[in-house]
């Protein structure tokens, strides 16, 4: 156990974490040159395309250090985006140390600050690493100063590397072995293994990534999942090198995977504890705190027949994405689907894409919304995660919206634009500090305005230099109203949004104009209205189509005409019917596209 090192890497998106991980794998001989594929750890196609890590992954490497000893390095990869800070804290549970990787040219970013604090709180040894020293614009001294000023940890002896060229990476490995403490734990105590992650494999069932804290698990032993109380045979144990390598046992301090023939997708929940059936431990490990989803949206299968498949897919995704919440929802416009809760818009995007790609589902999403706390006139309090479920105004005493505390780091030259953006988003400034070459801003912002497009806007007004992290603060009363969209007089439940009264007219206008653009001309005129209660605040008209008829048809080839009409019919089938009006799916996402010209 003295020769085991469990660590993860904390880094902002683009700061080179995946490249560094690849370099570590290569130096430790985890893969042959031929097997090396850029950024091997981001195994989901989606991750590689977006250049971000979504799910934690683990890899075990063997490194022969200068002291002549071969160390087992268990590297647990972590996601870098603000939406996934929960995943980060989970990965950190399995580690004794973390590498804080900072781009030598860009400096510290807000997300890394937050994750770094999580690591320190969890008692991890944090090693600062300055990456990308090969860049002409690299300024390691400035970055070291920033780490010390903004995060408050000593960084004068930070390792300087270039993951790209490999420079300094061996020094980093030496430093890692030296400074990160070996795991503690009693190999002879009853087994306690923490389920760090679980996912569903169609062939073998549930695969769980575990960190053995105490005791050891051998192949073939009867093990018990503590929350369910059910026992299973540990059929297969292994490690990722990053290829899956089967082992006979996993000892205290080690990280690896367990396959126990669990076919029930709730059979091995993340954060649960595995123990021995014959000699169970006294109590479960603390596990992870449940995260609260902040953003909700209705997801509906385009084809109603896919409902069951959709439910099945959500169950499987939920297994290793405990932040994903869902419950059945029925929409008059979109039919049967699920109300899903997400950590943020990126999380929502990624879940939707995974459902479409990995489960081959065609989905349509209603406008995303945050959760509101509403006080009713009868004195009760309720939470509303669906605008169409907001009680009528007569029953409402108060509507309270979630307020977040946002920490933003940015170079001083963009301060004007960022302050303006925060004001526009109804932000209240709490703090402003010049630290090193960056400005640190703290704002309180309504989450509803943040989920919409804040992140994208922040990146664009700061030319990509501002970084941002947030945490939930409180619910706060605000003059909020429900804005409905009516199509030829029929209210479309999936298009309702809750907005600040001051923005209602503007949002109504924008929404109606966007719908007018997206709804194709039909046999009759289509009136699109935005209304607050019975009060119409904006209106637009989709003019009637004049005709849809083939000019000529004689005795010739009819197959092309048939195909043309079949195609038209297929197009209609993909639309959603509201009253007599056919609405294309993109229209339901119109709310998301507002303000993005």
């Amino acid at each position: 156990m003295q020769h085991i090192r469990n660590f993860s890497i904390i880094a902002h998106v683009d700061h080179g974490k995946s490249t560094l991980a690849d370099r570590l794998i290569q130096i430790c001989g985890g893969l042959t040159q031929r097997e090396m594929q850029a950024q091997v750890l981001d195994s989901m196609a989606l991750e590689r395309e977006r250049g971000i890590t979504i799910k934690a992954q683990a890899v075990t490497l063997l490194y022969k250090a200068n002291d002549g000893v071969e160390y087992q390095l268990n590297f647990i990869d972590t996601p870098g985006h603000v939406d996934f800070s929960y995943e980060v804290s989970r990965s950190l549970f399995a580690c004794e140390g973390a590498l804080l990787v900072v781009d030598a040219a860009q400096g510290v970013e807000a997300q890394s600050v937050a994750n770094c604090y999580t690591a320190i709180e969890q008692g991890l040894e944090v090693l600062p690493v300055i990456n990308k020293i090969d860049l002409p614009s690299a300024d390691p001294e400035k970055v070291i100063k920033e780490i010390e000023e903004i995060i408050g940890i000593g960084a004068s002896d930070a390792v300087r590397v270039s993951a790209k060229t490999g420079e300094g990476v061996v020094d980093l490995l030496e430093e890692l072995v030296l400074k990160i403490p070996p795991p503690k734990g009693d190999p002879d105590a009853p087994l306690q293994a923490l389920i760090v992650d679980s996912w569903f494999d169609n062939y073998v069932g549930v695969v769980s990534l575990v960190r053995v804290v105490n005791g050891r698990l051998r192949k073939g032993e009867k093990m018990r999942i503590m929350s369910t109380g059910r026992s299973h045979g540990a059929d297969r144990l292994g490690r990722f090198s990053p290829k899956a390598v089967v082992v006979e046992q996993l000892g205290a301090g080690e990280v690896g995977f367990v396959i126990a023939g669990i076919k029930d997708i709730d059979g091995a929940p993340v954060g649960d504890t595995i123990t021995h059936d014959a000699r169970p431990c006294a109590q479960a490990l603390p596990g992870f705190k449940q995260v609260q989803p902040r953003v909700f949206a209705g997801l509906f299968p385009v084809n109603a027949d896919d409902y069951e498949a959709f439910r099945d897919a959500l169950q499987k995704l939920k297994l290793n994405d405990s932040a994903l919440h869902y419950e059945p929802e029925v929409s008059t416009a979109l039919g049967f689907g699920f109300r899903c809760g997400f950590l943020g818009l990126l999380h929502m995007d990624i879940v939707q894409e995974r459902l479409e790609r990995e489960y081959n589902l065609d989905l349509i999403t209603s406008a995303p919304t945050v959760v509101y706390e509403v006080a009713l006139t009868d004195g009760s309090v309720a939470f509303v995660d669906n605008p169409s479920k907001l009680p009528p105004s007569a029953e409402l005493a108060e509507v309270r919206e979630p307020i977040i505390t946002a920490n933003i780091l940015l170079p001083p030259e963009h301060i004007g634009a960022v302050l303006q953006l925060c004001t526009e988003k109804r932000g209240v400034q709490k703090k402003m500090q010049y630290l090193g070459s960056q400005v640190s801003l703290q704002y309180e912002l309504p989450l509803a305005d943040v989920v919409l497009d804040f992140f994208d806007r922040l990146k664009s007004v700061s030319r990509g230099f501002a970084s941002f992290d947030y945490e939930f603060n409180r619910f706060q009363a605000a003059p909020l109203v429900k804005l409905d969209v009516l199509i030829n007089g029929d209210r479309v439940d999936a298009l309702s949004v809750i907005v600040h009264r001051d923005n209602a007219y503007f949002r109504g206008r924008e929404l109606v104009d966007k719908m007018q653009e997206l709804i194709p001309r039909q046999m009759f005129e289509v009136a699109v209205q935005a209304a607050i209660g019975g009060n119409v605040v904006a209106r637009a008209t989709v003019k009637a189509l004049r005709k849809n008829v083939l000019a000529k048809c004689y005795g010739g080839d009819i197959s092309r005409k048939r195909k043309l009409l079949e195609k038209q019919k297929e197009g209609k089938k993909r639309m959603k019917q509201v009253g007599q009006v056919e609405i294309p799916q993109e229209a339901f996402l119109a709310v998301l596209k507002l303000g993005k010209k």
Partner: protein, 424 residues
């Protein structure tokens, strides 16, 4: 609300073969027009008139046994530009048709392009047996004719019409297009007025559409927008009606006695023999009772009491291929059987183009199916205001149904077939 007679067995066991027509395709043109998606080929040197007519006659001999004993109601010689063929060649063709098949006092139409007809020829065509002519006038505006790539001048259409009258061929049609590049509603009306001064028996008035496989489709010209085309259509239709040209089909206008019998046969889902390169035919015949109409095809509807077999025939599109096939004894057209599930749509694709719609009797005799099998889409179409009951009894599109005919017709498309379980 739907008044469809329950089929009684006696009625459904009687096989009524639809009327028969003959379509002859002469595929050459002086030049290919940029909007034309018909099977036409620019002449490369001389039209091989002799050889092609011989091929047509052999083609006829091959197909005649399939329709023996049936009376031919009309012949239509289309193209291409049929007027590139000499009156003698046309005479020889028509003689052969009369010799092979049972022909009465039938309508015999030939298409002619104003720029491709020699002076004095109409009388000769009439002598050859042509009694109706369709002139490809398209427009009388020099700019628009040029934009359409037409080889003729407005004056030539006028002259051709005068010659038709002089030759005693008063039963002629003029094709006109609207919605042309840069055309104003006033110009569209002017075209119609000029056409009507020539006293045609029939006017075909089409909106120019960009069809796949044409030069216009690949490089679209700037056309008047939908609203302007609609304005043109309404004003033109009013002008046509004022002058006695009553709309009887989406693009066809004539007094009731002057309707084109040949085209009516298409729209009433009649039969036709297709002769020539790329020509399509449709032939109904008695199938064995209870016969499955094509391999693997299965109807979800209750089996028709009659077993009417409907087949569509096709010839090779390229004239050279067609002639070689015929000459080498491989001239039988390719045959495709129209399955039960395809028939309602194919019938409606044609019948609903007519203002008068269709009768239940027509539907049942022409498709061999019982009308109760299409009650569902009919009721849905009525509910949408696209279809209404008509005398007959039958059904006809409402004015809205005619404007949105595609939406109406697609309601009769069969749902995709249910996947057959794999027998293995």
């Amino acid at each position: 609300m739907i008044d469809v007679q329950e089929g009684n067995d006696e009625r459904h066991n009687r096989l009524v073969v639809p009327p028969l027509a003959i379509y002859v395709h002469l595929p050459w043109c002086v030049r290919k027009c940029p909007y034309c998606d018909f099977n036409s080929h620019a002449i490369n040197g001389e039209v091989p008139e002799q050889r092609y007519i011989e091929a047509l006659i052999q083609d006829l001999q091959l197909q005649a046994p399939g329709v023996s004993g049936r009376l031919v109601g009309s012949v239509f010689i289309g193209g291409g530009t049929p007027s590139l063929f000499t009156p003698a060649a046309i005479a020889r063709l028509l003689e052969a048709i009369r010799g092979q098949l049972d022909c009465g006092g039938m309508e015999v139409t030939m298409e002619a392009n104003p720029g491709a007809i020699e002076h004095g020829r109409f009388a000769e065509y009439r002598a050859a047996g042509i009694n109706r002519v369709s002139l490809g006038g398209q427009s009388f505006n020099a700019t628009h004719l040029q934009a359409l790539g037409r080889i003729h001048q407005a004056g030539e259409t006028v002259k051709a019409a005068e010659e038709l009258h002089a030759a005693g061929l008063e039963n002629f049609n003029i094709d006109l297009m609207y919605g042309l590049p840069g055309q104003s509603p006033q110009q569209a009306l002017d075209d119609l007025r000029t056409a009507m001064t020539l006293s045609p028996a029939h006017l075909s008035h089409y909106q120019l559409t960009l069809e796949p496989g044409t030069a216009f489709f690949h490089r679209p010209p700037a056309l008047p927008d939908d609203d302007m085309c609609w304005d043109m259509q309404q004003r033109c239709q009013a002008l046509l009606a004022e002058n006695g040209y009553h709309q009887y089909e989406i693009s066809a206008y004539a007094p009731p006695s002057r309707r084109c019998q040949h085209n009516l046969n298409y729209w009433q889902f009649g039969d036709y023999v297709g002769l020539g390169a790329g020509a399509h035919g449709k032939i109904s015949s008695a199938g064995a009772h209870g016969e499955i109409t094509s391999a693997g095809a299965r109807s979800d509807a209750p089996p028709a009491a009659d077993s009417l077999r409907i087949q569509r025939t096709t010839h090779p599109r390229l004239p050279r291929r067609y002639m070689e096939a015929i000459e080498s004894g491989q001239g039988q057209p390719e045959v495709r059987v129209v399955t039960d599930r395809e028939r309602p749509f194919e019938f409606m694709l044609n019948a609903l183009r007519l203002m008068q719609g269709f009768t239940v009797e027509q539907f049942e005799t022409r498709t061999g199916l019982q009308a109760r099998g299409i009650i569902e889409p009919i009721e849905a179409a009525v509910a949408k205001g696209l279809l209404e009951p008509a005398p007959g009894p039958g059904w006809r599109p409402t004015p809205l149904g005619h404007r949105f005919l595609n939406d109406l017709q697609m309601m009769f498309l069969a749902p995709p077939p249910v996947a057959e379980p794999n027998p293995n």
